[in-house]
């Protein structure tokens, strides 16, 4: 007897339509960027010239390569430090016994999401500046005589990016941690594992999917960070987006800006492709489904 395939749900397409529309728009924009990347830049004009490959050759120059390297380095460091700082917070958020501790942690962790990016960035300028909070504190404590340069450095940019990224990481990790079967941890303790060992051998491996997805998300979005490096880097720390901005809106070199944009996209996707085998291996080891 042949089994009848159930009819496709009638509203399926209707639900899909908005996202198809959005995807279409993005593709069109991307196509436009792609075509710009092959055009000749005419200095002093908003119009572009004919077909050329020169824009692609230009990215081989050391100055642009170093921006690329900085971007990847800052993104990797941001992802790692965000992970290290967020895990304890997420753990406490899920496991705190008292309700008010949990509520407080949720508020502390999530409110940064609701303050504007610019406001938050200016707050960091106040904290990191030569006469800012950190430097005055250290000076008053007699630990330094001249102010440390924190603002306009890769360090300062990374610190701000980590803080910017933590809420999302905390949410992702908290979800993963809350899915860990408490009885598995109890079983490990019952079998003789001290608390740290329980964490290392049971809790951490079982939250690995959250750790991996969180790290990837933060890495990918830091790759495209703009306003934080723009304001805190103050032109001294350039990430790819800042370079794109500079090329596109200062010198109006749209073709080269397009090439840089595509490069950023490629690097982000390429890095994810590179770490993918490692993730696969980890996921096989954890095998949660």
């Amino acid at each position: 007897m042949k089994h009848r395939v159930p009819r496709r749900r009638p509203f399926f397409l209707a639900f899909l339509l908005p996202s198809l529309l959005a995807a279409g728009l993005f593709l069109a924009a991307l196509g436009d960027v792609l075509q710009y990347s092959f055009r000749t830049f005419i200095p002093g004009s908003l119009d572009v010239g004919g077909f050329t490959l020169e824009n692609f050759l230009r990215i081989g120059r050391p100055i642009y390569l170093s921006v690329l390297l900085d971007t990847v380095t800052i993104s990797v460091l941001t992802a790692l430090f965000t992970l290290l700082l967020s895990y304890p917070v997420a753990y406490a958020l899920v496991r705190a016994r008292r309700d008010w501790v949990r509520t407080l942690l949720i508020i502390l962790a999530i409110t940064p999401l609701f303050t504007g990016e610019i406001v938050r960035t200016y707050a960091w300028i106040l904290v990191l500046g030569s006469n800012g909070f950190v430097n005055s504190l250290l000076k008053d404590a007699g630990l330094i005589t001249a102010p440390l340069s924190l603002l306009y450095t890769r360090f300062g940019v990374t610190v701000a990016l980590v803080q910017f990224s933590m809420p999302v990481m905390i949410i992702l990790l908290a979800t993963a941690i809350s899915h860990v079967d408490r009885n598995c941890e109890r079983a490990a303790a019952n079998l003789g594992a001290p608390p740290l060992m329980v964490f290392w051998r049971v809790t951490l491996p079982l939250t690995m999917p959250g750790v991996i997805s969180g790290t990837i998300v933060i890495f990918a979005w830091t790759m495209s960070a703009f306003s934080t490096p723009q304001l805190i880097g103050g032109g001294k720390v350039l990430m790819i987006s800042n370079l794109v901005y500079l090329q596109g809106l200062s010198t109006f070199n749209f073709p080269f800006a397009a090439v840089l944009s595509l490069l950023a996209l490629l690097v982000a996707m390429g890095s994810l492709g590179l770490i993918r085998p490692a993730i696969r291996r980890l996921e096989r080891r954890v095998a949660l489904h």
Partner: protein
Amino acid sequence: MGQGAAAGTPPFAAETAVELVGVGKSFGPVTAVRELSLAIRRGEVLTLLGPSGCGKTTLLNMIAGFEEPSAGRILIDGRDVTEVPPYLRDTGMVFQSYALFPHMDVFENVAFGLRMRKLPKAKIAAEVMRALEMVKLGGLERRRVRQLSGGQQQRVALARAIVLRPKVLLLDEPLSALDKNLRAQMQVELKELHERTRLTTLFVTHDQGEALSLSDRIVVMSRGEIQQIAAPIELYRHPANSFVASFIGEINRLPPARCRLSGGEIVFSLAGIELTAARRDDLALGDGQQVHLFVRPEHLAVAAEAAGGRNRIACRVVTHVYQGTHTLTRVEAGALGVLQLRVPGGAVIERAPPGSEIGVEINLDEAVALPD
């Protein structure tokens, strides 16, 4: 990893593996376990039996160290472990949900405790294999736990606990997640396993059948209190109170009766009729005492004739529930209310269809009489 009973402990300690002294637990205003004392003898299977919410799992968790008692002391092998964290208690817990490590294979699950004890590799491999053989899982050591059936997961959980030869094996409703046939089979295997390992075992269940078939002694609990501690047969035949009487096995509760002693017999008058029983030592009943009688379905029989004769009453059949080896027959017994009979075989279903009048003989010689 505590040492064995210290040299200075009193002699009874050698017989006692786990001792609870005045242990109680409350969660805020709610009392989960009322202060109680209990001793688990070395090598026995002691069962905590009771309906859900009676405090049995809380008690188990306190022995394992997952819950801190609000009062009292817990001693394992004579050592006070009340303040000792779970990982130093040397108990072996089998969780209701098994709580196997999903990121490890069968071998690694069983090896976990041995690795924590930093045993040499070869020794670990040998011990794991031995434990897996014991639970009949030889050859599956490289299987992922997610690929195992419920029964197999149960065995891994057991192997993981017994491989460490814990001072006490704690089983938290280990069979409740299995289907009926598998449960019966695992009951037999648990019993065999215990005979081979002789591990002191505390078994928690709400299933009286499991309790009766697996235990050396049963602790019946209700509302955080111990109702009775006794061997299964003793518990079934001489329940201490009406809760135990109705919780263990099927039982008919008769209306209040007044006793009268007459020669070698006790006469109970209830609901306008008289029932007699031979005098028994265990029924220390006084003349004129008010009691409640409890009679097991197997002590009620279909009589040849409908009326007349000792302890015989006329009844009308309500339903039959055929069970293979026997039939459970419910009858309407007038002033005695509805009674349940256990009739061997299934012939009664045709002989006395629902609605028909039959005589039922009540054998009170093994009835339970509890003071009102």
